[in-house]
């Protein structure tokens, strides 16, 4: 239900219709145009947030939207699964669950109940780079949820009695999300193969043998290290003004003392020169698929200026039914039932660009892979045209106009951006930067990323290859 994590290429399972929507979301993450300006204008300004910083260093971001008297209240911690010590994979996500297990004032399980009995909804999510908690409530309940969220920022009290049944829950969560579905299992394996050394290769939810041994002490240690106001961002979207929000933020969050927080020390990937293949055969699979992942720069690691051109490239290759890959593989050659390419630049370290397809009946995986490769090769060798770039940019700016028409979308976009090292100014300048992308830049980015030979190819196949 929430937007993509840092490296969230479109899932295997989806046909392009859903995929296109996911793509739009990923970019609309960055995009929108205010009510007052023409919809297709490439001017600075997306969400028009206000921001201020509390005396303890906690950043506050506000997007006012007064259509309905409700608000989204989110706290983002700049810590995620990639910040875990080795050997305790899954602890960031486990702690996310345990944050609902009580303080002096709010007993275990009470947090969500109180939000609900006040007509609100709440939840939380973990990525490699951040962990976020949110409540959607009527505007007159904002103070209530702020008080509770601030309370658990420093007063979490865990007991074995609540911690260990919850560990069983996350193990069930892993079974349900990953182990029960072959498409998700291959995704995990591709990821683990792409990132040889960096923790992005470790699943957010954790490896099963390590999840089974996670302890209360490890969760508490992670909490004490990272959950500090100076490592958090408060993002509020909805029917509230800065004048109303400021005193509340000072009152509830401002009084929590700042603490030293570890630097994010992430290992870097070693040079890898080998192309790799991951093959998952499973008796359950009736519809095979292929994907290929290349390492790509994120906004934060983008030294060459590829991040915006790669988004335009993604729109040209995969932005709906007139995109290159769909037109080539599905419409013209009729060898695929779906085809996609995805790239999300919101990541603290590097990210990946991925392309994939599912074969039409009677088409072998060899033939499909060759056709996908041919389209990529054509792109790298011949590039895109100025006209393709112009059309793609126009579409992206237009689609972006919808992004502000949401209660939660702006808060999610801004929170994820800040937690992965972007500034509000970066987000607000998204239309201008997209508009400035040239065909030469797209081609250079395509060559640099897709020209790499150290990619990972994942094949999801039936147990017996019946020639599909």
């Amino acid at each position: 239900m929430l937007p993509n994590g840092p490296t969230a290429p479109p899932p295997w399972k989806r046909p392009w219709r859903r995929l296109a929507a996911a793509g739009v979301l990923a970019f609309a993450l960055a995009g929108a145009v205010p009510a007052a300006t023409p919809a297709f204008a490439a001017e600075k300004g997306v969400f028009f947030p206000e921001t201020f910083t509390l005396s303890n260093g906690m950043q506050v971001v506000l997007v006012t939207n007064q259509r309905v008297p409700v608000v989204t209240h989110m706290v983002w911690y700049k810590v995620g699964a990639a910040d875990e010590p080795r050997g305790v994979s899954g602890i960031a996500h486990f702690l996310e669950h345990l944050m609902f297990k009580g303080t002096e004032e709010v007993p275990p399980g009470a947090f969500s109940r109180i939000v609900a009995k006040n007509g609100g909804r709440d939840n939380a999510f973990t990525s490699w780079d951040y962990t976020a908690y949110f409540q959607n409530v009527a505007r007159d309940r904002l103070e209530l949820v702020m008080k509770m969220e601030a309370d658990r920022m420093s007063n979490l009290r865990l007991t074995d009695q609540v911690v260990y049944p919850e560990r069983d829950v996350i193990i069930e969560e892993r079974r349900q999300r990953i182990e029960n579905e072959p498409a998700d299992r291959i995704g995990e394996q591709v990821n683990a193969t792409l990132y040889v050394h960096h923790p992005y290769g470790t699943p957010i939810i954790g490896w099963p043998q390590e999840m089974a041994t996670l302890t209360r002490e490890e969760a508490e240690s992670f909490y004490k290290s990272w959950y500090a106001p100076n490592n958090a961002v408060l993002v509020v979207s909805g029917d509230v003004t800065a004048e109303e929000l400021k005193p509340l933020a000072e009152k509830y969050y401002g009084g929590i003392p700042a603490r030293p927080v570890p630097e994010r020390v992430r290992v870097q990937e070693p040079p890898i020169s080998a192309a790799r293949r991951v093959i998952l055969r499973d008796d359950e699979v009736r519809q095979p698929s292929i994907r290929r992942n290349w390492l790509a720069p994120s906004y934060r690691t983008d030294k060459e200026g590829y991040a915006y051109p790669l988004q335009v490239l993604s729109e040209i290759m995969s932005g709906g039914p007139t995109s290159r890959l769909y037109r080539s593989l599905v419409v013209e050659q009729r060898i695929a039932t779906s085809a996609w390419l995805g790239y999300s630049p919101s990541s603290w370290d590097m990210t990946s660009l991925a392309a994939g397809a599912s074969p039409a009946p009677g088409v072998t995986m060899e033939k499909l892979e060759a056709a996908l490769e041919a389209d990529i090769r054509t792109l790298v060798e011949k590039g895109v045209t100025e006209e393709e770039v112009a059309t793609a940019k126009k579409r992206m700016l237009a689609e972006a106009a919808y992004a502000r028409d949401s209660l939660t979308g702006p808060a999610q976009t801004l929170g994820a951006a800040i937690a992965t090292g972007q500034s509000i100014d970066d987000v607000e300048n998204w239309p201008v930067r997209i508009d400035a992308v040239t065909a030469d830049q797209v081609n250079a980015a395509a060559r640099a990323v897709l020209g790499q030979t150290n990619h990972v190819t994942g094949l999801l196949l039936p147990l017996q290859d019946k020639g599909s």
Partner: protein, 453 residues
């Protein structure tokens, strides 16, 4: 992205803290719904809002789509997939380009009880958006190439789903509960039926189903009532006055009391159970809504989540829900658990069924359910399209244009005795149709299906 379990709703119940807070503000009442009747006599409801330059239009043809002809299962769904694949002078690629270049989202969806359409456009592109919508309804091309391509995509999605134990469970449940009835069919059709559908079948479906007599429309956003009236005539005015949909018979679910196990080599068992529920028009609807919220509709803190997940760590998610259909109704529950604990989890779910049937809800549970169900409703009004969708649903359910103002009173009027009555009426743990997919241990099956589907 990994998150805590996200069921449809959040919760109920007690606690010490902070606010004693009842009577949450009800901002839904602040929304003004206008009845718009076009010069040509087409009615729509509108929430006019010029703060965002976006228009959302949602519509449905009641009754269309529910019943595909025998052997042509999947017809309505294939039509939905192909309607926006070229219309009037534009072939598939040209039509898609016009939509994309103007950032217009147009889509169709075949449901059990109706055929839905959805349009979202920036208001300065509305003329183009309305014209493309009109073309898709009045002059869809169903070119052979587009039909074949969409057919292949649907077949591919059907094959893909066969690896999903949740899907296998749902299919087995519905085909067992509604054998021989359209509700028991896979709405996307089957590997056998889809190849038989021709472009002429699709044209016939559109011609028969898209009549103004079955049309329900709602809109929201940056458009005046006058402009909407003109748009309604433009988009829908050329459709036939009447439609010729086959009547669907009412049906009661079958297989009650059975426990089916589909053996699949999965790590977890998928559990799905249900029995007759009640229709949206039932006088006990709101009592049942409260009951369901307490039982398993509320996410964290519901009785099912508390007993199965919180206390015992047996599942990531377990939930209950009501399914009101036009010709039948269900009360359902489901969840996933490790194979070895499936029997235990199932026993607990049935016990909770029994406890609710025998004891109903406490005064506190009732109060908390009311504050949640009334207070959370406005959260659904977060976008222009969401507002239009809710209006359409209210209109389809014939709840009245002032329903949003009255909804809280219906919920707040529910008593403990009402919940007790409806729980006793609906819930019987011995009459559940239970479907398990996986390798469940500790479960006595009345029938085992190897391979599942």
């Amino acid at each position: 992205m990994i998150a805590r379990f996200v069921p449809n709703r959040a919760i109920l119940s007690v606690l010490t803290l902070l606010l004693t807070a009842f009577a949450v503000a009800a901002p839904a009442a602040a929304i003004e719904i206008k009845r718009v009747v076009s010069p040509g006599g087409i009615e729509a409801w509108l929430v006019e809002d010029h703060k965002v330059p976006i228009i959302a239009l949602e519509w449905a043809f009641e009754g269309a789509g529910a019943s595909d002809p025998k052997g042509k299962e999947g017809l309505a769904n294939l039509a939905a997939r192909t309607l926006d694949e070229g219309a009037g002078p534009y072939d598939s690629q040209a039509f898609a380009a016009r939509l994309q270049d103007n950032a217009i989202a147009l889509g169709y969806d075949a449901g059990r009880d109706g055929f839905g359409g959805s349009l979202r456009t920036l208001s300065d592109r509305r003329d183009e958006a309305f014209e493309l919508t009109r073309l898709s309804l009045a002059e869809p091309r169903f070119d052979a190439e587009a039909v074949e391509r969409m057919r292949a995509a649907v077949l591919s999605s059907l094959r893909r789903d066969q690896a999903d134990p949740n899907y296998v469970g749902r299919r087995l449940f519905y085909s067992t509960a509604y054998p021989g009835h359209p509700y028991g069919d896979e709405i996307r059709g089957t590997l056998e039926s889809l190849p038989t559908i021709t472009p002429d079948d699709l044209r016939g479906f559109v011609k028969a189903g898209f009549g103004r007599d079955r049309l329900v429309v709602a809109a929201a956003g940056d458009i005046s009532p006058e402009d909407l009236g003109r748009a309604l005539d433009h988009v829908f005015g050329g459709l036939p006055a009447t439609s010729a949909n086959a009547a669907i018979p009412d049906v009661e679910p079958k297989g009650l009391g059975e426990t089916l196990v589909a053996t699949r080599p999965t790590a977890q068992t998928v559990m799905l159970m249900g029995q007759p529920g009640l229709k949206r028009s039932d006088p006990d609807w709101y009592a049942a809504t409260v009951m369901n919220y307490v039982l398993g509709g509320g996410g964290f803190g519901s009785r099912l989540m508390e007993e199965v997940r919180e206390k015992r760590g047996l599942s990531y998610g377990v939930y209950s829900y009501l399914i009101p259909m036009d010709h039948s109704a269900l009360v359902m529950a489901g969840g996933n658990t490790v194979n070895a604990k499936a029997g235990q989890a199932l026993d607990i779910m049935r016990q909770e069924w029994k406890r609710m049937a025998e004891q109903g809800v406490t005064e506190e549970e009732l109060a908390d359910a009311k504050t949640y169900l009334t207070g959370s409703f406005p959260l659904q009004l977060g976008s222009t399209q969401a507002i239009a969708r809710i209006l359409l649903q209210v209109k389809r359910d014939k709840l009245g244009i002032d329903y949003l103002d009255r909804r809280d009173a219906f919920i707040n009027g529910v008593t403990q005795a009402d919940v007790q009555r409806v729980a006793k009426r609906l819930l019987d743990p011995n009459q559940l149709l239970t479907v398990l997919v996986g390798r469940p241990e500790g479960v006595t099956a009345t029938r085992t299906i190897d391979g599942g589907s």
